[in-house]
């Protein structure tokens, strides 16, 4: 019985040690190093001709340096790629991440792939490894691999996305928009909107909404009229509402008639939040379905006949 007690004490002791000492030590040492590297990187970025070099010697230091680079590139617009490239090369960071990727868990893989998206990948072997992750069964890994691939080869956005064998989620399109806003990616919207690929069209709609591209009306109506994918049609109608466009077209009414009752109710509430009048909502949906919208729209208005104080 005493062996059991000793075993129990050892196991619970290890758990306590992991939760307190190791985690605490890791986080405090990590944050100090992270601050130092970030400060050094900022100093190097400000002075391109600076001869200051950042040299790492251990695995922990390399990990921290990559995190500092990632944080800097995500918080700045169009950072000095050459300077970052030099730091990455001097510390052999690409090889380091690919070594870690081999034995990482799914969460760690996502993290490492995200970190890789901040580093310019040029090596063809590395790119082919990332491409393999696009076929992974875990959606999160696939999604992160896609972002890394797009960041590495921004000019090949259309072939990369059209070759995907999974559907893009709203979080994926939001990540790609983040890359556009950072200046990593330049996109011409027309080819995306005119494409027959569902993923490319979903991305195009997200970009139209996010940047308020109001010249896309014609394309949006075209998608509503011709697309066989109900999610895409729904997204196109929501994009039209985000651009505050009139919805009185016959084709929109026809497509809405095919939608489920729940989807129509959802759209009805959405239209009232977006500022559409009850008349324009009635033109699309039945008066019973407009009940929620009427209640909401009425509640946005001031009642002049009553006094203001309770």
């Amino acid at each position: 019985m005493s062996v059991l007690y000793i075993l129990y004490v050892m196991v619970v002791g290890a758990m306590i040690l992991h939760l307190t000492v190791v985690s605490h030590f890791k986080s405090s040492a990590h944050s100090a190093l992270y601050k130092r590297y970030t400060a050094n990187l900022i100093a190097t970025l400000f002075n391109k001709n600076s001869t200051t070099t950042i040299i790492t010697s251990s695995r922990h230091q390399r990990n921290t340096l990559i995190e500092a680079i990632h944080s800097l590139t995500t918080h700045t617009y169009d950072s000095q790629r050459e300077v970052i490239k030099r730091v990455v090369k001097e510390n052999n960071l690409q090889e380091h991440i690919f070594r870690l990727l081999r034995h990482a868990s799914s969460l760690q893989k996502c993290r490492l792939l995200t970190l890789l998206s901040s580093i310019n990948l040029e090596n063809k072997t590395h790119i082919s490894i990332i491409k393999k992750y696009l076929h992974c069964h875990n959606h999160n890994i696939r999604s992160h691999a896609l972002i890394t691939l797009i960041a590495a080869k921004p000019t090949e956005l259309i072939p990369t996305i059209s070759s995907l064998n999974f559907e893009l989620q709203p979080t994926d399109t939001a990540r790609i928009i983040t890359l556009i806003r950072q200046g990593t990616l330049c996109v011409v919207i027309e080819p995306l909107l005119e494409s027959n690929n569902r993923n490319l069209q979903m991305l195009a709609l997200a970009i139209v909404r996010s940047f308020g591209i109001d010249i896309a009306d014609k394309h949006l109506l075209q998608i509503v009229a011709s697309s066989q994918c109900s999610t895409l049609v729904e997204d196109a109608i929501y994009t039209l509402t985000a651009l505050k466009r009139p919805l009185k077209y016959r084709i929109i009414k026809e497509r809405l008639a095919e939608a489920s009752e729940q989807q129509r109710k959802k759209l009805c509430r959405h239209l009232s939040v977006e500022g559409y009048s009850i008349q324009s909502i009635r033109a699309l949906l039945s008066s019973e379905e407009c009940h929620d919208a009427r209640l909401l729209i009425t509640s946005y208005k001031r009642q002049l006949s009553q006094s203001q104080t309770p």
Partner: protein
């Protein structure tokens, strides 16, 4: 006696594993959220058109309303329920501070609806705030009435003295935008404080929010999340039932363990040490603003989450 001792150690081992496993789950959820937040930060659009309406009651001061309005997410609103007859001065103060004006509503001005007045701000900064002067004493029916004025598809009934963690709405939107979660009717989390996110249509189909609504929602439509969403703000208020629960478990366990053997009592004490450290660890992971004894005790009580049914409580 030997068999009793063996069973006791096995029970302690099961408890220790459950505690450690829960800490790892919350740690993993915290790291995942940190990762996704960093990535989605640059995108300015609401993810998947997900919007949330927060409904809260029994908050009377601007100090309590202010943190609930601070989220940067585009598609959310805050509905505050107040009884203008009982708390007239507080209502007037809120009206003055947020430049509120009385707006129309089509519900009847009588006892059935209970709605006396509805207020929205004339100031664009506070466009997300809706104040409902409601004379209903039953909080559940007041919330059900407030759902009529909610603009978005997901409803978060919030207890008084509870605040949202930074980026909580973004976390909910990220989770719900996944096509695998399209049929989810309830997201439940009680990492730092209990929080329920209801799908509006789900609530309506289950005849409104009631104390036993969770039992009426099909299990496959419930998502038990490890991602913390809310935290308690009343750190001075010591919660007696939680204290009583923890104290009774501690004393009962020590009594039984001491009866078996002294090493058993020591092993029991060690398990409690692990539970306390795991609770503090969870709070640190989520950068909880409140690390008081009360919150730690709440965390210890939560360690039994694997073995109990989730309940909806709003009072």
């Amino acid at each position: 006696m030997k068999i009793a001792e063996l069973i006791f150690i096995l029970l302690l081992a099961a408890a220790a594993i459950a505690i450690y496993y829960r800490s790892l789950l919350t740690m993993r959820a915290a790291r995942w959220q940190q990762l996704t937040q960093e990535e989605l930060m640059g995108s300015c659009e609401s993810i998947g058109f997900i919007g949330c309406s927060i409904i809260t009651h029994d908050i009377f001061t601007i100090k309590e309303i202010e943190p609930l309005l601070s989220s940067a997410y585009q598609r959310y609103e805050l509905i505050v329920l107040l009884n203008g007859l009982q708390h007239r001065s507080e209502l007037l103060q809120i009206i003055k501070h947020y430049h509120l004006t009385r707006v129309n509503h089509t519900l009847p001005h009588d006892n059935t609806s209970g709605v006396n007045s509805l207020y929205r701000s004339t100031c664009r900064t506070y466009r997300r705030l809706v104040v409902m002067d409601c004379s209903k004493t039953d909080i559940f029916s007041a919330i059900n009435t407030a759902i009529n004025f909610a603009s978005y598809d997901y409803i978060i009934p919030l207890q008084p003295h509870t605040a949202l963690l930074p980026h909580a709405i973004e976390r909910i939107a990220t989770t719900l935008s996944d096509s695998a979660h399209r049929d989810i009717e309830l997201i439940y989390n009680d990492t730092l404080a209990p929080c329920c996110v209801f799908q509006r249509d789900g609530v309506i189909s289950h005849e409104g929010i009631t104390p036993d609504i969770i039992q009426r929602i099909p299990k496959k439509a419930i998502l038990r999340s490890d991602t913390a969403l809310t935290y308690r703000t009343d750190r001075q208020d010591f919660h007696l039932p939680t204290l009583f629960f923890c104290a009774s478990i501690l004393l009962l366990g020590i009594g039984v363990a001491y009866f078996i053997s002294i090493p058993a009592a020591l092993a029991y004490g060690l398990t409690w040490g692990l539970a306390t450290i795991a609770s503090i660890h969870v709070l640190r992971q989520w950068s909880a603003p409140d690390c008081s004894v009360r919150t730690i005790l709440y965390q210890i009580r939560n360690l039994t989450i694997f073995f109990r049914q989730i309940k909806f409580n709003i009072s």
